[in-house]
């Protein structure tokens, strides 16, 4: 009797699991629950705090926090630096990794070894990165030494505008290999006879690249851009550990600003800054989605 009930219940679940939506929610449940508790709810709470005058016993403050935030000199500096950094480094990363992938996809020896050496920077620990960074860009570092051969006097690189470019270089060094692998895979997916047909029809190399290679790499590019944006936020760690809470003006990022607001317990400004940053990221992502969709239709 008991066994029969158990079997029927099991069959019931099995039938229920065969329906897509029910199965989907069941499979999603652990992820969605944890995601809600640790990401979604904290995010919504953060947005709420940004409209309150005091996080613990909140009175509604409207846009006052935002007004104060936008009036803050250091926030504006941090926001424009973050924007500048992503706007320069992500396209640079795209061009560099696509270029290297095209070369690696050509006729070369030792392809496998080269590929490995390009990805290995990913595993270099932050501590090593910082030491090497210092060896090269310090006042007494290798770069100044090399420049002294040409009679150029020393520069304290991390305390000048050049710090910005140093951070971009470290970002490119660390992440280029990962993106090269992504592009390489995309390139290998393009059917060879497309190029042959294009050649027969008299399309030049540039034309082939522009209307076959780039079009076919759309989805790969979308993925690379997303990963590059994520990783561009991650360079903050190296910058922070090297230059501390208040680095040179040119590399003072939104993360520095938020960190400092956290330390000084200015929750209103921190959450308002976070909300604005997310709006910015959302605009970029939706824009990318739109672009990708249009290109895909173009392909079909």
């Amino acid at each position: 009797m008991k066994k029969w009930v158990f079997l029927r219940a099991q069959r019931g679940i099995a039938r229920w699991m065969r329906r897509d939506a029910a199965a989907a929610w069941l499979l999603l449940a652990p992820s969605a629950a944890g995601f809600a508790v640790f990401y979604l709810i904290p995010f919504v709470m953060g947005v709420m705090y940004s409209f309150m005058s005091n996080a613990s016993e909140g009175g509604f403050a409207g846009l006052a926090n935002y007004r104060e935030l936008l009036a803050s000199e250091s926030f504006r500096k941090a926001a424009s630096n973050t924007f500048y950094f992503s706007a320069v480094s992500v396209p640079l990363m795209l061009a560099l990794s696509l270029g290297l992938a095209l070369l690696l996809n050509g006729q070369i020896y030792l392809r496998k070894w080269l590929r490995t050496s390009y990805v290995l920077p990913l595993v270099v620990p932050v501590a090593s990165v910082i030491i090497i960074w210092q060896m090269i860009f310090d006042w007494n570092g290798v770069l100044n030494y090399a420049l002294s051969w040409f009679g150029i006097s020393r520069v304290d690189w991390m305390k000048t505008e050049a710090a910005r470019n140093v951070v971009i270089a470290v970002y490119l060094w660390k992440n280029v290999g990962y993106n090269v692998i992504l592009f390489l895979a995309g390139l290998q997916q393009i059917p060879k006879d497309y190029y042959e047909t294009a050649q027969l029809e008299g399309a030049g190399r540039f034309r082939q690249f522009y209307s076959i290679t780039l079009v076919y790499l759309t989805t790969t590019t979308f993925f690379v851009v997303i990963m590059s944006i994520i990783n561009s936020f991650k360079v903050f760690r190296e910058t922070y550990l090297l230059a501390g809470d208040y680095p040179h003006d040119s590399i003072y990022m939104l993360q520095h600003y938020m960190n400092n607001m956290f330390v000084s317990l200015d929750i209103q400004k921190l959450t308002a800054a976070a909300a604005l940053m997310v709006c910015g990221i959302m605009a970029v992502v939706l824009g990318l989605f739109g672009l990708e969709r249009r290109y895909r239709r173009f392909m079909e």
């Binding site: 995601f35 995010f43 490995t116 932050v126 090497i132 310090d138 992504l182």
Partner: protein
């Protein structure tokens, strides 16, 4: 003609090889310097961080970047492994944070990714967009509410405050979904015909097919969480419970052990990477082809 191609091929290989060497330079330097004595390192790099131009003896103060040690010694490794038990404890702490995160996130994400990639339900695309958005946010964005949440759940100052958010992070879902989009529906239909439910299909059809994706995810998660600094720094305040990454990040002035410490720290990542390399590269590649 043949000769021309060979020359062309060699030149291109040489160019790409030089770029490769440039990328590998920090790893090589870290390795060779880990075999030097503390005294030698101090002479080479002692002037870093000081704004002087000339030493007391009149020599210039530039760092002396050296490829090869004067005397090869394992003294740095000995110092760390034999004389400072603290180092091994921190190593263990790191493993205690990273292993549960990797196992947890891979399992939870694989199930969710299957739902997002292969099943249809209302609100799927908008929910996925939400996942995608939070994945892009830097850690600082939800710092305060996260802190309050951890406090409410009683997780503050325990490793749970780092592990649980790690398990439910969206990256694994995103990556595995990309991966599962490649699997043709025909496989799922065939399994359905045989009377398999979605759980069976997931375990016996999908999981074996996305092995490269799982391998790639494990490597990427390992690198990411082995290197995390901010989260343990804020959520775990007991220095004896913190991972190696936090300890290492403060070590940059201590020339006598920092290179060996970096090497030991890097070792698990490099080994895992080389072990899973074929899978990893295949996995990373497939995740990016179809959007």
């Amino acid at each position: 003609m043949r000769v021309m191609t060979t020359i062309h091929k060699s030149l291109l290989t040489l160019l790409l090889g030089l770029i490769g060497l440039l990328l590998l330079f920090p790893i090589v330097i870290t390795f060779t310097n880990s075999l030097m004595t503390g005294g030698e390192l101090l002479i080479n790099y002692g002037t870093i961080g000081k704004l002087t131009e000339v030493t007391a003896t009149g020599a210039d103060t530039f760092v002396n970047l050296k490829w090869l040690p004067d005397k090869v010694t394992l003294a740095q490794y000995g110092e760390l492994l034999v004389y400072s038990p603290n180092y091994l404890l921190l190593f263990w702490n790191s493993a205690g944070l990273v292993v549960p995160i990797i196992l947890g996130q891979t399992a939870v994400a694989a199930m969710a990714a299957y739902a997002f990639a292969k099943l249809s339900f209302r609100g799927r695309d908008s929910l996925f967009l939400v996942y995608l958005l939070t994945m892009l946010m830097p850690f600082q964005v939800t710092l305060v509410p996260n802190y309050i949440m951890a406090d409410k759940l009683g997780l503050l100052h325990t490793s749970g405050a780092v592990i649980l958010p790690g398990i439910f992070a969206a990256f694994g879902v995103f990556m595995l979904r990309q991966f599962m989009l490649h699997i043709p529906y025909a496989y799922i239909e065939a399994a359905k015909m045989d009377g398999a439910g979605h759980l069976r299909i997931f375990l016996t059809v999908i999981v074996p097919m996305v092995k490269p994706g799982l391998a790639a995810l494990v490597v990427l998660l390992f690198v990411d969480y082995w290197n995390m600094v901010e989260q343990p720094l804020i959520f775990i305040d007991d220095p004896f419970k913190q991972p190696l990454s936090v300890f290492l990040s403060r070590l940059s002035g201590e020339w006598d052990t920092v290179f060996a410490a970096s090497m030991l720290y890097m070792a698990p990542m490099v080994l895992l990477f080389l072990y899973a390399e074929t899978y990893f590269i295949e996995g990373v590649q497939l995740s990016g082809i179809k959007g």
